[in-house]
Amino acid sequence: MATDLVVNIASQFLGKKAFLDADKATKKLTGSVKSLGRVLGVSLSAAAVLAYGKASVKAASEDIKAQKLLANSLKNVGLAYASVDVEAFISKMQSQTGVLDDFLRPAFAKLAGVTGSVTKTQELLALAFDVSSGSTLDYASAVQLLSQAYVGNNKGLRQLDLGLTQAEIKAMSFDDVMALLNERFAGSGKAALNTYAGQMSLLTVASSNASEVIGVSLLGAIDSLTGSDGIANVGTDIENAAKSLANFIDSVVYLKEQIAGIPGAGIVKGAFGLVGNVLGRFSPQRAAELLKEIKGPQPFSQPMTLANQDKGRANLAAQKAAEAAAIKRNKELAALAKSQAKSAADILKKKKETAALDKAMLAANLALGKGTDIFDMDKIQLNAALIGQAEALGKATTGSQILAIANDVQRLKVKQDIAALEDAIASKDTAAIVKATAKLNEDLKILGALQRQDAKLLDINNVLAGMKSTDLINLANLQAALDLLAKFKFPTLTMPGYVDTTTKPSPFVGQPVLDKLTGNESIEAILEYSDAVTTLANVMADTLDAQNYNDFLSLVEFQKKLGDFGGYSANMNTGAGYGAGRVIVEINDNTSGLIEVVQTAVQENNRFGNNLDYAGAI
């Protein structure tokens, strides 16, 4: 930081020299780099060859490993006879589709394990290529989808957005799936291959194959070089082989350049071209082909040995057996699917039958419920009991009998209410439950009133009124009772025990007296009696109120008279206290000793709790 805080004074521009120096240094560096490049040229080439060689060997070894794994997988599912054909198919397919055999072999193994058929597997692999090209799925996912669909698991089809519902997808057979996918994705793979990406994938396959071919050759070369050691020291051998190859190439190029500098060496140069062409064309494969050409056409691709004939027959038999097994498995799968469909249909049918049965049962239950209502013994008994009680009520002669009957009737009604509430709860009808509950509560309340021994006649009246239908009310009797009450003469009532010379005698003197019930009266008479008692009580209450008011007015008049002495207040009777004027007693004591006596008395009063407010004023 501190170096930035500088005030520069009188500077000089030396940049030109510095730049010249930099130019010189750059040129020098460039020359050095060029020299270095020349020196390192061979080494760099060797390194590149070495790296490629290692990669090729690795690719070849992995390819061989994958081939063996696939062969083993095929063998495990009984398709060992088809290993060679499968490899040929995979090789052909990868060159046609651009899908590397690294993906095709596991896919083939997976589908072969599922289908058990080489033909079906090949068909599915081709379809998977179309599907993966026409959708967002990669090839492995498409293969997985098909392998799952083959065994009836169609869930993966949802990823393809086929426009089908989940139920539709689930209901599809594998043949339907195949048909649908062929319809939707046919030609997708071909179209994809015509794109730049498709061409690049084909190129990738080609370069990969080339690498594997070179790797196989290198492995063979190393194997032959190392002899019994195998490829244990493969890294070192590859390195040495690559270096040797690079040195050889450099030497050839150097020799070619040197010879070209010699006058008249055109022939030799031509010879180098010939040698180069021969070297470029020579390979073990080419040698094998040359040998084949030299030997001429052979009648059979395989030597006609007995063992090979047996092997061919065995392969044919195995193929037939495998295809038969696959067909059998297909049939089994189809049968299984059919069975599953039948089971599903059966289940659906059973469900429908069950629903119909439930419906019928519901109707039957309703009908039975009605019938049960009709033949419900409890209800019949209750009704009979109620009828019996009604008859007994008509025959009752005393109040206690009536009360007992009323109790019984009310209990029966409560029982009826309980039954109704149970029915309502069973029917799950909320409105009915509420209504039944309210009715039960009401009847329980009435029953409670009846069961109290001090039951009032009014309550009994209400109870009895509830027991009777309205058309049973004897209006004539009621009217007669009212007429009788109207004839009563209600005198002015006075406060009992209050003797006022200025007022009339007690209002209860000479009041009408109702005879006591004998217990033999009819219900109508009891009702009339109770109404009469109520009316009389009301009248007496009104009379007492009037008498009380008159007494109050008399009291006020009396207090007004007291007011002359200063103790009256208009509100004194309503809690407002006494008036301002008080009765003041003045004591003029001219003799000694009286005040002390009064004061002592007041103090004693205070001591005993009889407090006097104005004691201190004395």
Partner: protein, 236 residues
């Protein structure tokens, strides 16, 4: 904006090689001119009691720190750091060599010199809304956005790292109360003045010198050049 002198570096080299006495004399003359500026600049350094007290305290355990703590202020040290140099500097990135320089070398002095010239109110407080959004790490095709709050525990360059949100402003206000920032850029030049030549000590002193020291240095060099020319002419 130093004055460019053609051949001044070569002259200094020649003086040192062929006329050392003249070289020393030239250096003395240049030093005398520069010393007036450094003396004035040292006078602008505040006392220890004028700056915020916390800046002058030594941190406990500073010897064990694995990082370089904020340099404490010492008036003495800051004054000693204000020096001059009459030796040619190394070329800067643009190829210029300074024949004479006034330097503020101490860390605390440099802070006092420049504090507030970039952010007059102190460095901004770290905004809690600063989030980094980036896609996922699950390879190509993972376009899901994740957000990461910036780590609050680490030092955030360019932001106020104090728990006091007004720390920077208070610090700069205190420094401004002892000396104002002055731009030493000569007036009349084309372009807007930058902050590079703004300061409270050497830039302020240089600005207030009004170019007298600069003229004296140039004059000393010209004089030396003339004398060296005469000297070589006589020798020839």
């Amino acid at each position: 904006m130093p004055t460019e002198l053609e051949g001044a570096v070569q002259l200094r080299v020649a003086l040192k090689r062929f006329a050392p006495d003249l070289s020393k004399e030239t250096q003395t003359q240049m030093a005398a001119a520069l010393k007036t500026v450094t003396t004035v600049a040292r006078g602008y350094v505040p006392n220890d009691g004028q700056v915020l007290s916390g800046w002058t305290k030594t941190l406990s355990g500073a010897d064990n720190f694995v990082y370089r703590p904020f340099p404490k202020f010492s008036s003495t040290e800051a004054k000693a750091g204000i020096t001059y140099s009459t030796s040619p500097s190394k070329p800067n990135k643009n190829g210029f060599v300074a024949l004479a320089r006034i330097l503020n070398k101490s860390a605390a002095g440099a802070i006092y010199e420049t504090a507030g010239r970039k952010n007059a109110q102190g460095q901004p407080n770290f905004s809690q809304n600063d989030f980094i959004y980036r896609t996922g790490n699950n390879g190509p095709g993972d376009f899901q956005l994740y957000y990461f709050a910036q780590d609050r525990t680490t030092q955030r360059k360019g932001y106020n790292n104090s728990l006091n949100p007004n720390a920077g402003k208070q610090f700069i206000d205190n420094l401004n109360s002892t000396g104002q920032l002055v731009n030493a850029r000569p007036k009349g030049l084309v372009g807007s003045p930058g902050r590079k030549l703004t300061g409270r000590l050497i830039f302020r002193a240089w600005a207030e010198d009004n170019g007298r020291a600069n003229a004296a240095v140039i004059k000393a060099l010209e004089k030396a050049s003339a004398m060296f020319y005469e000297h070589t002419k006589r020798a020839a």
